[in-house]
């Protein structure tokens, strides 16, 4: 009898790919090199089952997998070689870690007998990535390979999601072992809490019904846990006004009458005033980032706080929380809704008491709406409003970092979850374009835009070749102010306009550059050209790079100076 068949013996490289198939992976983003050649050779046999997207830089692979994961809710998978391949992924991994994005990154490693020898293309990948992964592994024995992959996918996608890295020495990929993919995982030290504590929840419900000026402050956790429907139901049930962090945008419909925009440093006047005047704030899957709170002692100074989060270490980190609730946002909101379902009398009286509060917030909204002044130069905000209009608000939008990011957050109205992809935590310039590529691969039928800065786009511009190779109709809208605009803005406001090294004096001709890559380049230099350029771009089923030559010294308002209370807004 054929023993090999009976025992299902396989080389490590095949075990890896069979494991990926067991995990339902059909797309990976990668770049080959010596340490992963065995895996690449095996991938060649699986071309019909697994789509490998060849990027042009490993940072691009990680961001693309990240964009894929954020847009689809699935785990993004990356495959790169040892040494420089692995170190090139670090920024992408740290970006995903900060924003709780589920990734599994496979890095090649030198053969086990050479580890620690300063071998060719050796780097201590596990050491380097330890502080920016949810967990990482060095597989030193082929016996552990399948189990490790199983655990990695489980850890990446459960609890507070995050990137998990598996470092695999080359000899492991060639040695042979029985393939037996585990059914489950056994992790003594890992068991996320999904359901909120009943007693805490009944406190929340009681206080919520008694509160005079309640407010929901939502973050990325709402999107990660797919809790938008529950959130909407709760807000509508008792007329709760909602404000969102950058990461939470899309978690609640921006055009909903109960939505008052983003809060924080570049938040709306209404949102920041509401936070400061509320008497009861429920933070949902948000983490009180310093860009949100401003001077933390003043944040929500008149309010009691509830904080719902799956990660206990997020709760009470920066702000004192009266009622902490550890749990999955969706599960917790469902429990709260269930508890409220028997309280219709209280609800109608509490709704009645809220009218004044909602009116106050609406007055703030009308006193100081988001605005900008038009003239004969293109205003960045106008470009974004037009993109919103012409896509009917249904595009997936990624951004780079800087003013382009903040204007997008302010002027594109995100109405559904997983449509806004941005590096909120790490603030990584160069994120948006590869993330858009990943999103387009996850959602081939959707319109996908990267709203970019002229500085940021140059950080991963090489991925134009990837977009062209896979014929992805991603659109890049460069808000070209010939400046590292956000840096310039800070220099204008806090450094007496000393524009120290923030000018982009030698930007390439982005139209020609796009053409050189085999993409389409378009340009608008006057306001009345903007609409045509966007329409034209939308009609082309190819990657298009649009160069919007905009006002150079436009600033993002409102703005709260760093460390100031968020009511201290500089307005337009």
């Amino acid at each position: 009898m054929n023993n090999n068949v009976q025992k299902n013996l396989m080389a490590g490289s095949k075990i890896i790919i069979e494991s990926l198939i067991k995990e339902g992976v059909d797309t990976i983003f990668g770049y080959p090199g010596g340490a992963v050649l065995n895996i690449y050779d095996e991938l060649f046999n699986y071309k019909d089952k697994i789509r490998h997207v060849l990027v042009r830089h490993e940072q691009g692979a990680t961001h693309a997998a990240d964009g894929y994961a954020r847009a689809s809710g699935k785990v993004g998978v990356v495959l790169v070689t040892s040494g420089p391949g692995a170190t090139n992924t670090v920024t992408g991994i740290a970006t995903a870690y900060m924003d709780s994005v589920p990734l599994v990154i496979f890095t090649g490693q030198v053969p086990t007998n050479l580890i620690g020898n300063d071998a060719f293309q050796e780097a201590d990948t596990v050491g380097i990535t330890r502080p920016c992964t949810k967990h990482n592994y060095l597989v030193k024995d082929i016996k552990d390979l399948a189990r490790t992959i199983k655990e990695a996918f489980y850890i990446a996608s459960t609890g507070r999601p995050g990137p998990v890295l598996i470092d695999i020495p080359k000899d492991i990929t060639s040695s042979v072992y029985e393939f037996d993919y585990p059914e489950g995982v056994e992790l003594k030290g890992y068991s996320p809490t999904y359901f909120g504590h009943h007693m805490q929840l009944s406190k929340v419900v009681k206080e919520l019904l008694n509160a005079k000026r309640p407010l929901l402050y939502i973050g990325g956790g709402v999107i990660i846990s797919n809790a938008s429907p529950e959130l909407k139901e709760l807000a509508e049930l008792i007329d709760l006004p909602v404000t969102s962090t950058l990461m939470g945008l899309g978690g609640f419909p921006s055009e909903h009458p109960l939505f008052f925009g983003m809060l924080g440093m570049h938040g709306t006047y209404a949102a920041n005033m509401a936070i400061s005047n509320a008497d009861f704030i429920i933070a949902i899957g948000a983490r009180f980032d310093d860009r949100v709170t401003g001077k933390v002692e003043e944040f929500g100074r008149n309010a009691k706080f509830v904080h719902i989060d799956i990660d206990p270490s997020s709760i009470g980190k920066n702000v004192k929380i009266e009622i902490p609730v550890v749990g999955d946002v969706k599960a917790v909101l469902n429990s709260i809704l269930e508890m409220l379902s028997t309280k219709s009398e209280e609800i109608s009286s509490t709704r009645h008491n809220r009218l004044k509060w909602l009116e106050d917030i609406n007055i703030w909204k009308y006193e100081h709406p988001l605005s900008y002044k038009m003239n004969d130069i293109i205003k960045p905000q106008y470009v974004i409003e037009k993109i919103y209009e012409l896509t009917g608000g249904s595009a997936i939008i990624s951004t780079e970092v800087g003013q382009n990011q903040m204007w997008t957050a302010q002027f594109y109205k995100f109405n559904s979850p997983r449509t806004f992809l941005t590096s909120g935590g790490l603030g990584t310039m160069g994120y948006g374009f590869p993330a858009a590529i990943g999103a387009q691969i996850a959602c081939p039928e959707r319109m996908v835009f990267d709203i970019a800065g002229d500085g940021s786009i140059q950080m991963n511009i090489q991925e134009l070749a990837t977009a062209v190779q896979y014929n992805l109709p991603v659109k890049v809208a460069i808000i070209n102010n010939s400046f590292l605009g956000m840096i310039r803005q800070w220099q204008e406001l806090f450094y007496e306009k000393r524009y120290s090294f923030s000018q982009m004096n030698a930007n390439p001709d982005f139209v020609k550059l796009a053409e050189a890559y085999g993409a389409v380049g378009l340009r608008a230099t006057k306001p009345d050209e903007v609409e045509d350029v966007i329409k034209k771009a939308l009609s082309i089923k190819k990657p298009v790079m649009m160069d919007f030559v905009v006002a150079k010294e436009e600033s993002v308002y409102p703005m709260v100076a760093p460390g100031a209370p968020i009511t201290g807004m500089l307005l337009v």
């Binding site: 050491g127 967990h135 060095l138 850890i155 003594k188 030290g189 990660d311 206990p312 270490s313 980190k317």
Partner: protein
Amino acid sequence: MEKTHILSILVENEAGVLTRVAGLFSARGFNIDSICVAKTLDKNESKMIISISGDTQILEQITKQLNRLINVIKVQELTDEDSVVRQTVLVKVNADETTKSDIVRIKDIFNGRIIDVSRNSYTLEVTGSEKKIESLIDILRPLGIKDIVMTGIVAIQRAKKLN
């Protein structure tokens, strides 16, 4: 508020766990005063006893983050009241005809042992609370300490007393 804390951390006995745990402290610029790691009855698990001084609130945050590590099974803060804390010291002290008997007396007072003897030195082994070890050192210092090695502290929770 600055205070000394003792954390008892049950972890999986795997490569890299110590670095993960230590990394959470070093990332915040905390200096670990002492650390002891050894396996438990279950050979797949180790117990770490970490003693550290620092801001109570920040340590609370670190404790939560320790719990977040996949290989950490349980984190417990041990307090002086509810636990027994011990440390062992090996100290090599100058010994001549005039001081030998003093050293032996000190050893007896501290319930220690003499574990090595040479013509001009005695090496003592003493186990006790941190305070006890400190006072031993104070007493031996005038005699001339040639070398000293201390373990980190180990600590165990006291059994619950029945009312």
